[in-house]
Amino acid sequence: MHPAPSVILFSTLSGLGFGFLAFLGWGALLPSGWHAFFLWGLGYGLAVAGLLAATFHLGNPKNALKAFTQCRTSWLSREAWASVATLLILAPVALSDIFTLGLPRIIGQIGGTLAILTVFTTAMIYTQIKAVPRWHHWLTPVMFLTFAVAGGAMLAGMGLAPVLLLAVGAILWAVWRVGDKAFARAGQTMGTATGLDRLGVPSVLDPAHTAGNYLKREMIFVVGRKHAAKLRKIALALASVLPALVLLMPFGIWGIALAAILHLAGALAARWLFFAEAEHVVGLYYGARG
């Protein structure tokens, strides 16, 4: 699948933002005044920047409001509702923290839970796609949720953050291990795609078209896969191991900032791989397993 920068930025930034908002909503740390303004601003900034990046992926964004209409069947529509509901419900909690208005914490807890639910809906957009076997697995939402919770815990300065960051690494490893066999396990070949397996073993004679098209650009992405092994090591180090080590050092707030920058870079690498390594079964018609 084509690793579009808009979608990579969207899922990485909003995942981190909603993860942090969950910790703020639940009252993991109870800031006030300018301190609260800065922390809530960071959470909202990341979440909203991510959502804005997502709109750049749309070919016809003027209809974006219609995306709220189909939550009965569509995970993308559910995500639209969950993200907007989270941002609206947490807004008074943020104001209450900043101006110490003493709003009941239960509102923050509802908003914080919705924030995690938002990340789950994002993950389900990919998980539901049966035609991309690497994504169609329960480890996909586990991976998105672990990233959000670990990133949120890291920004909130929780003592458990290094452990959660190491859990991100373990989940990434599991996702790659399972994912590498996913396409073969799905059992689709050029033979089943064309039905010519009942005759013999097909292979491409002439391409259907000599020039590129939307399908080849969007779903049969092969550029850069040779660097995948290196990128996996980089993603593992930056997203998981290094920020966990930095957080264990007595660097205080600067340690959190450094860990956050490392983790975000690693998360972007991991998310690039999530798209670039995902193979769509339509590639079978073109003789590409991907």
Partner: protein, 242 residues
């Protein structure tokens, strides 16, 4: 609404005969020609160095290695299969993608499409292409603007690809009716679904190429084993010794 209908009255679709298709691309051209009218299917750099465009129908060609028989070339048209369990419909966040309860045709309401591309991701068959100029999703409409169009002569009220096919490899009809010509064809020729394990329950069916007999030696083969005699034979021997 992106909920799928429980069942549809008719199941209009295509039956494509891979035995008679010769891969002439006439269906591709007729499809593009008919659907290019009105809102259109855009092309990018059509006469330049890197042409690209939106098509609703593509014809692939494959060579099939068959054990103990000569290899076969199969040309393979690929377009929307108007699935009963269409994954492209349920993923749509705006309701632009829908399946008609009356005849089962899967359509896109372009006025509601946001161009997110999720329906194209959900389709295992690559039936949907985003129009690069309009930013909305395009797909086969089963020529819904022809098949019910009473201003057209009756023989033209079928999809443009079917109307144009010079070898009659494409058939259009109601696959819910077991008595229809297309259903009879599917029954008699062993029509099949593409990637049935994907759970999409396609309406369109493909008829397999008939098995060819064993390869026979060319009638010209004896002529290949020529022995030179007479002067030519003497020359052949002498030149061979040089």
């Amino acid at each position: 609404m992106t909920s799928l209908p429980q069942s549809t009255e008719k199941r209009l679709g295509l039956v494509i005969d891979l035995d008679t298709c010769v891969g002439c691309q006439a269906c591709v051209t007729a499809c593009k020609g008919w659907n290019d009218g009105g809102i259109g299917l855009s092309d990018q750099d059509p006469y330049g160095a890197d042409p690209s465009g939106t098509f609703l129908n593509r014809v692939h060609s494959y060579q099939v290695a068959i054990p103990d028989a000569p290899a076969q070339v199969v040309t393979f048209p690929r377009s929307c299969l108007h699935c009963d369990n269409a994954p492209c419909v349920t993923v749509c966040p705006t309701g632009a993608s829908y399946k008609r309860a009356e005849d089962g045709i899967v359509l896109v309401n372009e006025d509601a499409c946001i161009g997110c591309g999720l329906c194209a991701w959900a389709c295992p068959y690559g039936a949907r292409e985003m129009d690069a100029a309009q930013g909305v999703m395009k797909k086969c409409t089963l020529c819904v603007d022809r098949i019910y169009n009473e201003t057209l002569p009756e023989e033209d009220r079928e999809p443009a690809c079917v109307r144009t096919c010079p070898t009659n490899a494409r058939h259009f009809g109601d696959l819910a009716d077991p008595e229809s010509a297309v259903s009879q064809l599917v029954a008699s020729r062993g029509g099949y679904d593409l990637m049935p394990d994907m759970g999409t329950k396609p309406t369109n069916k493909y008829l397999p190429p008939r098995k060819k007999g064993p390869g026979t030696a060319s009638p010209l083969a004896p002529l290949l084993d020529i022995k030179a005699t007479g002067i030519a034979g003497w020359l052949d021997r002498m030149l061979g010794k040089l």
